[in-house]
Subunit: 261 residues, 2 copies
């Protein structure tokens, strides 16, 4: 067998980012994770707040933001500027040698503007290509990449891209050269049988159970693209996927959902 | 003598950034410059516009922005987000493998919050240390760094930093390992004898002439820190400094000011 080094990819969402003390605790825990690692962050609420303060009205369809030119400007400012650079500065304070990236930087994540037959999503990108060799070089030299959810089309256009998708596309691409564990952190302890009951964590989720829960409508809208991403990533070579509260990173015995094919 | 490779450091200001077609032309010209290079950008007017749109009133003392917590948030969003990522995306479209950086990324530029006896500049940083080894590795592997004027204190705090100073501190640090030419691009063809007459370019400026023109008040406020930076950089090992319109980068015969000790 090959002797690939382990790589942890960790995706955090708006709930951690919007809570300064929670974020600070998470970044301290993240800094203590041994070995190669990548952080991917979203940041939905903060962008919405900034958009409102300059008079824009955010539009969503099926949980996806419609990104017109003004909204793209806001998400680039908030995700790639405010959130990304504050996370990097805090990681540096924790002696983690982080570099913040959008997909445009080093052409690390190239995407294509979404061309949907019915809905015009605006400046939204679907990932086409990850620059694996450059990422591998950076990671192997001890850099901890911190990705915001902005990509580009290599023709000069920045594009808003789903952060879960970025995490899974990075995981798929890098599984060629690393043994990748993908961790989706959110406010819940895992995927729940009953959304109202935090003690109802599904500890092992596979495709059969997923199909069953979808048909029973026990799994609802926001979780569907997340789990689709997971099964897609596993089928393309990602070693292991975990979904849960970020405390699962610090305490490996903490309850969470493991996804398997 | 050592066999150091040439490195061009080019600083552009708000006048180019605020004019989309001028910026696009500049980035195309910049992409054609042979050899190793770094771009440093300011972006004052754009930050002021964004600050006003969310109801902040920008304050300036002696041409330097007073940066309170809200204004820091705006400059981080605009400089490190909006401007930096748009420049990087355009350079990538020109097949230049740019990566955008703040000083926090890779701990590339560490600074100290300014402690002034009279004026509280707020979250403004004075450069203390450049991470020369990491920058040298990146540049030597073909990356073109694009720096915005944001640094950090390595304790988690981002700091607003003068872009001219960033350019000169990078030039000084990198002159240990490269033969550095520092180019300050602005809207004029060079340093002028008569600020109202664009044909009055001083083609060669040295310390003696600078002292004379300062005493005659022919050189005014904004130009003084710029020239102070230049003489400081030359005294610390930078090979060559040019001040002029960015067309001097494309046409080496174009009139400009050369600074020498």
């Amino acid at each position: 067998m090959e002797n690939r080094k382990p790589l942890s990819i960790i995706k955090i969402g708006g709930n951690i980012i919007d809570d300064a003390s929670e974020l600070s605790q998470f970044l301290s825990d993240f800094s203590k994770i041994q070995g190669h690692k990548i952080l991917v962050h979203g940041g939905g609420k903060s962008a919405t707040r900034t958009a409102k303060s300059i008079g824009l009205i955010p539009q969503m369809i099926d949980g996806r933001r419609i990104t017109d030119a003004n909204m793209l400007d806001v998400v680039v400012m908030v995700y790639a500027g405010q959130i990304n650079k504050n996370i990097v500065a805090q990681l540096q304070a924790n002696d983690t040698n982080a570099i913040g990236f959008s997909g445009a930087d080093g052409n690390l994540i190239q995407s294509e503007k979404r061309n949907h037959p019915i809905i015009d999503y605006g400046f939204v990108g679907d990932v086409q290509k990850v620059n694996t060799p450059l990422l591998q070089t950076l990671i192997s030299s001890g850099i901890v990449p911190v990705f915001c959810a902005i990509t580009h089309d290599k023709k000069g256009q920045l594009l808003n891209t789903n952060a879960d998708t970025i995490a899974s596309e990075l995981a798929i691409a890098l599984s060629e050269v690393f043994e990748v564990t993908l961790n989706y952190c959110f406010e819940k302890p895992g995927v729940l049988y009953d959304a109202k009951d935090d003690s109802s964590v599904i500890e092992k989720m596979n495709q059969e159970l997923y199909a069953k829960l979808k048909s029973e409508k026990a799994i609802h809208s926001g979780m569907i693209p997340k789990l689709d991403n997971c099964f897609n990533s596993l089928s393309k070579g990602v070693q292991k996927i975990k979904i849960g509260h970020h405390k699962m990173l610090k305490n490996t015995n903490a309850i969470h959902t493991s996804i398997e094919l």
